[in-house]
């Protein structure tokens, strides 16, 4: 369970990093709020 949680969190963090660095674009979806704006909002 712990390993699975780490694996998922690494995957989602990688997805976010690739998107915010501009390496991978959004594909077909609209652009979700990036992490820094999301944290400001909360």
């Amino acid at each position: 369970m712990k390993k699975l949680r780490t694996l998922f969190s690494e995957f989602f963090a990688l997805l976010s990093t690739l998107n915010t660095s501009g390496v991978l674009k959004g594909g077909v979806v609209y652009e979700p709020l990036p992490p820094h704006l999301r944290e400001e909002k909360n």
Binding site: K2, F12, S21, G26, V28, Y30, E31, P32, P34
Partner: protein, 198 residues
């Protein structure tokens, strides 16, 4: 806050522990990207199966998506209108491909060459699209443009070579890159922003 933002934040809070080094915002951002893509894919699978356009639509979608991953392009600001536009575009394309008449090989090759040539030109001039929220890095932009141009070059060569063997794959590729490049044009951005306002 949108519905997907709320769900992704809730899932990120569940995932985040002291051992996870990433911030809550980062995890929620990654989850939302994954979630929206999964919803789009699921909706597309269901609609294409219902309309008996599965093979045409899915091939068109994957080729379109693969190019758009590197180039991005115009999109609507709400996830649901964006989903509707994606469905209309992909299912319309799938319908067109299913009912496309088979042209003689030289004409088909000319069509592929013109289609991919236009796409190459548009991508050369406008790819990749800038992010809405994140400042762009010129080095990354240059690399993304090179990747897309190489993809179109190789795709054009393969499509022309394959016309005689698999006509539909060649035509699907041409339509996918044409759609992807049209969505990079400034006029597409203007049209979508006008649609979003109305």
């Amino acid at each position: 806050m949108t519905w997907t933002e709320k769900v992704s934040m809730r899932l990120a809070k569940r995932l985040k522990t002291e051992e996870v080094p990433h911030s809550l915002g980062k995890l929620a951002h990654g989850i939302e990207i994954f979630l929206l893509n999964a919803i789009n894919l699921a909706a597309l699978i269901v609609c294409s199966l219902l309309l008996h356009l599965f093979a045409e639509t899915m091939l068109l979608f994957f080729l379109f998506y693969f190019h758009r991953l590197f180039s991005s392009g115009a999109h609507l600001r709400s996830p649901w209108t964006c989903l509707g536009a994606t469905l209309a575009l992909m299912l319309g394309g799938g319908f067109l491909l299913k009912h496309l008449p088979v042209l003689p090989a030289p004409y088909a090759q000319l069509l592929v060459l013109i289609g991919t040539g236009i796409s190459f030109g548009i991508n050369f001039r406008h790819a990749p699209a800038e992010h809405t929220y994140v400042p762009h890095d010129p080095a990354v932009q240059r690399r993304s443009r090179s990747i897309v141009l190489w993809l179109i070059g190789v795709g054009c060569f393969l499509s022309i070579s394959l016309v005689g063997y698999n006509y539909h794959i060649s035509m699907t590729y041409t339509l996918a890159v044409l759609l992807q490049s049209v969505l990079l044009l400034p006029s597409s951005y203007r049209l979508l922003s006008r649609l979003a306002k109305s």
